[in-house]
Amino acid sequence: MTRARNATGAAPALALALLAATTMGGAAGCGPEVVVREAAFKKAAPASVAILPFQLVDDDAGPRADLKAAALREAFHRRFSSLAYLHLESEETDKRLRRAGLLDPKKLAGATPAELGKRLEVDAILRGEVLSLANLSGGVVYRQSISARLTLADARTGETLVAIEHTEADTGGVLVGSGQLVDAIRDTVDNSSDVGFVRLAERFAESAVRAFPPPPAPARVVPPRIDSVEVRAPAGRTLRAGDEIEVRVRATPGGAAFFDVGRDLAEVPLFEEAPGSYRGAYRVAHGDRAAGPVSVHVSDRFGATARSVPPGGELTIDARPPGAPQHLAATAAAAGEGGVRLEWAAGAGTKAAGWRIYTIDGHGAPALVAEVKGGETRARVPPAAAGARLLAVAGVDERGAVGPLSFVEINPGKTIAKGGTSR
């Protein structure tokens, strides 16, 4: 049996009519027209839904209509996620459609619910057709509207279970005499920017989702199961550049998995090498810094996630090069030596295994002129190099990673006081 209803009921519709008659204009848009095939819906309500990319029906929908259609889909998706259906994330839906060669709008339009259901592994397919997008603005009056049709088709039977058609519109401006001057001006300003469309799209989505029948029983969420996590990494020390962290996980097959180290090294992917067997590795690179437990996430295609933090899996990674030398100062060397004497203090970060001293030419390019061991914090620059305008010093770690430079301006034969740090 089919039933049609106005989602907001008769009283508000009457109220809206009265309001329009008395004040003219303002926020417009009646409730969605909803058709629910109740018998089929109640008999076998879908538990899982995929929301397809919204299609533009109106060829003359204006500039950036495709982006607006995508934004409308996302707005709908966000609101739809509060209903108790399992639903595929948009990215996952698009990925599966791309794999199947169905991301092209024409091919997508021609695909049957059964075919899509099989590809996307869901019970039902939700299509969105953007019937029209309008934004008429005359300075003192405007009207922006979104009109779209949403249909939920059962992928198992091909039947259309729910059809919703709705127009959300905003009419306003000073001329229509709606409400209040200040609000009318502010709304006109909003309407002239993307903010107006985004808000209208949110309202459209809110109205459409409110009109959508909830499943007779909420879909049960069952997160994937993580059976075991094995972390392989150098033990008992801080990890440096070149070290490797390997994580092996046994979990529910077919998931998307990744691991984090603390909050700074995030989302290192784990790949499923065999059903239920995930492995991923991360090689520490120069510049990495992270500390904390290794946490593993495994998500199913509907976003339900299991998280596991294996005990004793805390790691510390510090592959930052030595920090910039501090208090770098240059003085003229003793009369018999010639050149310039440099002194500095070690900077923050990894302990320097050595220091490199550079001259900086007129184009800013450094040229290495001297090296000293990490324990030293002073050096003499030979007379030839002392003719340069700038000298720079940087720390280098045991693996050869060079840290940021500190520089000092020199003037041969005279102490120069001004120093600085480059990054």
Binding site: Q180, V182, D183, A219, R263, A266, V268, E273, P293, T305
Partner: protein, 349 residues
Amino acid sequence: MRPRGFARALGLGLVLGLGPALFAGCSSALHRRADGFDPRVPLRVAVLPFVDRSTGDAVVSKPLTAVVDLLPILSDDKLTKENAASIFRTQFAGNLHRTPLAMVDLHVVDSLIDHRRMDILAAYDRDRVAGAKALGGVLGADALVFGWVLEWDRDYYGLESAVRAGLRVELRDTTTGGILFESEVRDSKYAGISKVPIAYSPEGAIQSAIVEPLKGLRNTVFATLADDISRASIAGLAPTAEERAAAPAPRIYFVAHSGSGPLRPGDELVVVAVADPGLRATFQVDEDYAPVPMTEGAPGSYRGTLRISPAHPFKGETLRVRGVSASLAASTMTVGRPPIVVAGIASAR
């Protein structure tokens, strides 16, 4: 100055002087982000049901606002069944999608809480550090959002009305239980004489003066206010739409990889990129495989590695590097040559 000119100047002065004040309404916002918390890290976040700690409508306004809810011309039956906490939670979750944080669907959160019979109020009222740790495991989330409705009331003064709302949120790390981000935002909307009712006739003026303050008490005004407050609440987690629009896209100058010949399981694919400094960079082999994080060594120089395994049956795939700036502007560069090929693995796709 002639009297007419003076009157015009006075009128203009009043408009210029009062205009901004009328537009601004009354709002306050406090935000705090923990040191070292980079909101570009795509944490998986669950928004818990919010709790309502507001006192409700002002006592003197209660009879009037109760009547307002019953008037068909003013009430919004689509909202009367929802309470302040659920309206705020929905609006906040909708806005959280604008940040890089990955959100656990609300119904997934609700379903798991219901299924595990978790006592959410206890998590709010007792030790939230312990509560966040315990709930994080159940919900599979890296962080949780706790939310309190601080204010949700309506005042009616005849020719003027006001709705006020306030929200406090905490984003807590589920590993440590510590606060990553918190904000407290209050705002109000006025309707009536202060907003200059529009009228083109004496009858219209009377009508506007009576109707507009009443319309200002509708639940839809609350919902809009909750949306505004939710947008303001996530400031610090995401730049505003205006800031995002103004932010230049980061530049990626160069991308290269080590897969010049067929790779084998156990080999390492090294990817380097030169781009603007300070980006959060990832690389992705084809769009079907998860992105791999890259590290910035020297400023603007990025490097990442992928150890090839049997899960990588690459058959001439392209490589895509993506960089996201602090203002969340993103750029990608795709390179198709040399194609990435792994030998000796049969594709399961």
